[in-house]
Symmetry: C2
Subunit: 350 residues, 2 copies
């Protein structure tokens, strides 16, 4: 449903329970394991002996998104997809979400319908059921808390902790694009604030804007790895930037790592824009974050399978027995320590 | 651990991951179903064919709690317990929680340690595992999102929708106390704001203050019902007030209800205070909310078992075949429509 700009229904016209009914009315249950969805004290899920996976993400206005340039439908889609990504990163399949929503009366019912239209699109695309939630008012902006439930066979679960020395370090897709999209949006916002009559210059930036505003989770990569009979030894999704995620894998697995800077996959748009912004392109990939690609390790014996599997998987380094030593090998063969700068919300706060 | 008032560690001294480590370090896993807790993309839970129950509650500063009079340890305890209550209301057992936390830099690490000390106490008291979370900064106050996972045998689950005509309507404990506690705290806050040198007058109000600040979930009632072989036909916990919850049961079950006002259980402190505040005591019970008692229906054949079971269960009315007709029978035998005024956050917002 597209938002009709002429209609604005205030939240108190529906009340809490009316609003929940309104927002969740169009979410049919798709998974046999979703026995009971919205409308009771708890949802009922039946996972029949498989492993249940649970993860939560909190998205706060002004910290994780800026309403100046974030369409609500995209925001709903992204909020759901980044949670699904956590389940794929365990080599599992997301099956249900519960959504906690805090809204100020700055938002209309129609605006929240848009947000839920985005959540609904994501649920349809990834075959996930919305099974519950909590909706309340907020004194300051939008608060979105999504908890995702997933499932995996006992033998399929992949944790961060399984990487072994000599395992190959692989990444899906390309990196740094979401960060470039953010820089473009921030630049246009600043220009708009300086001159409100200006038209935003977003032409030609479709790829990086989509990476930022409407990311996808790599369901396809998890499926292809399974088809090819390759079980990663460790896996994580890239939300904070490549460097930070590599350090997580190394710490959890008790290994070290050598990462080759010139192997890091970059889209040409990302490389060009990074140069325009006077950023070294690989630094955007290492520290930018929000790419939601999968970073994983495989045994060396799986090298050929990985090569055949997809052009969309790149081997970028290998794990070492040197616990705690994580190194970046530069194109001119200098070896420098790999550090995470990523997103540390507590440090970037005003 | 008690907070040392002399020490204040800023959040950015630890960073996001350091803070998560600090807050979650002292949460050993207690349930065999908690296969993997904090520290990966998702927690891993193994429920072996039983039903998994999931519920989420969002608590926002300024809406659900007022830091002027809410000790952080109590807040952590309450935030966890109100979630456990949702699982007991399904006749299940809470087993795991994931905690999403948004904090502004007004809070120190020590303050958050207090909050988690309260969550830890609740987890110990109810044998629940903290298995994951997400911690981020917030531009405005504290945001707490707790998702609880629970378990129940297939045949044990009780929904809101099972009440039949002639079933007895029962409630545990007494009602209205939490609301009286809130009124006392609001009164003392107003007096303190008018005269900051004043000492708060909280003596003699222990019972209602505890009901407001440190409620318990009725794990004991669920256990006793099971021991006695009584399975409620429908059940809900009282978070919004008795009237609102009765309407939920009636709507979900497609029945009506006759509620006897003089049967509503009230603690003497609650009755006395209500009169001081010039509120009819039963109105505090009907609309006050936050008592976290269990409201449930049982078949008439279970009447004697319920009577023997506990002095802490009161039969307050019965369900009728008159779908949509919910009535309150006053002490002088007038029959008036039962309406929910409860907490509607969208209407009470400033």
């Amino acid at each position: 449903m597209e938002e009709n700009k002429d209609i604005r229904t205030e939240l108190d016209a529906l009340g809490e329970f009316g609003l929940i009914d309104q927002l969740t009315q169009d979410f049919p249950l798709r998974n046999p394991s979703s026995l009971k969805g919205v409308g009771d004290d708890a949802a009922i899920i039946n996972h029949e002996g498989d492993r249940t996976l649970v993860s939560v993400d909190l998205l706060l206005e002004g910290i994780h998104f800026d309403m100046t340039y974030t369409p609500l439908k995209h925001l709903g889609y992204k909020a759901a997809v980044v949670n699904f990504s956590d389940i794929y990163a365990m080599n599992g399949t997301p099956t249900q979400i519960v959504v906690g929503l805090g809204v100020s009366n700055r938002y209309s019912v129609e605006a929240l319908d848009e947000l839920y239209a985005g959540i609904r699109l994501a649920c349809e695309a990834y075959n996930v059921d919305l099974v519950g939630g909590d909706t309340t008012s907020s004194r300051s902006g939008l608060v979105i808390s999504i908890t995702v439930i997933g499932v995996a066979k006992e033998t399929e679960v992949v944790c961060r902790s399984g990487a072994k020395p000599n395992d190959l370090l692989c990444v899906s897709g390309d990196l740094g694009g979401a960060y470039m999209g953010l820089l473009i949006l921030e630049r246009e916002k600043a220009e708009y604030l300086a001159n409100p009559n200006m038209q935003p210059q977003l032409k030609g930036f479709d790829y990086v804007l989509q990476r930022q505003l409407k990311p996808e989770a790599r369901k396809d990569i998890v499926a292809r790895l399974k088809e090819a009979g390759v079980k990663p030894t460790s896996m994580i999704d890239i939300s904070d930037g490549l460097a930070s995620e590599i350090l997580h894998l190394c710490k959890a697995s008790g290994v070290g790592c050598q990462l080759y800077e010139n192997k890091i996959p970059l889209d040409p748009t990302t490389s060009k824009l990074a140069k325009d912004f006077q950023i070294v392109p690989s630094v955007a990939a290492l520290n930018g974050g929000e790419d939601y690609e999968l970073l994983f390790t495989v045994d060396q014996k799986d090298y050929e399978k990985i090569q055949r599997l997809s052009d969309d998987i790149t081997v970028i380094g290998y794990m070492t027995a040197d616990k705690g030593i994580t190194e970046l090998v530069t194109p001119d063969n200098h070896v420098i320590p790999l550090k995470a700068q990523g997103w540390d919300h507590f440090k970037t706060e005003n």
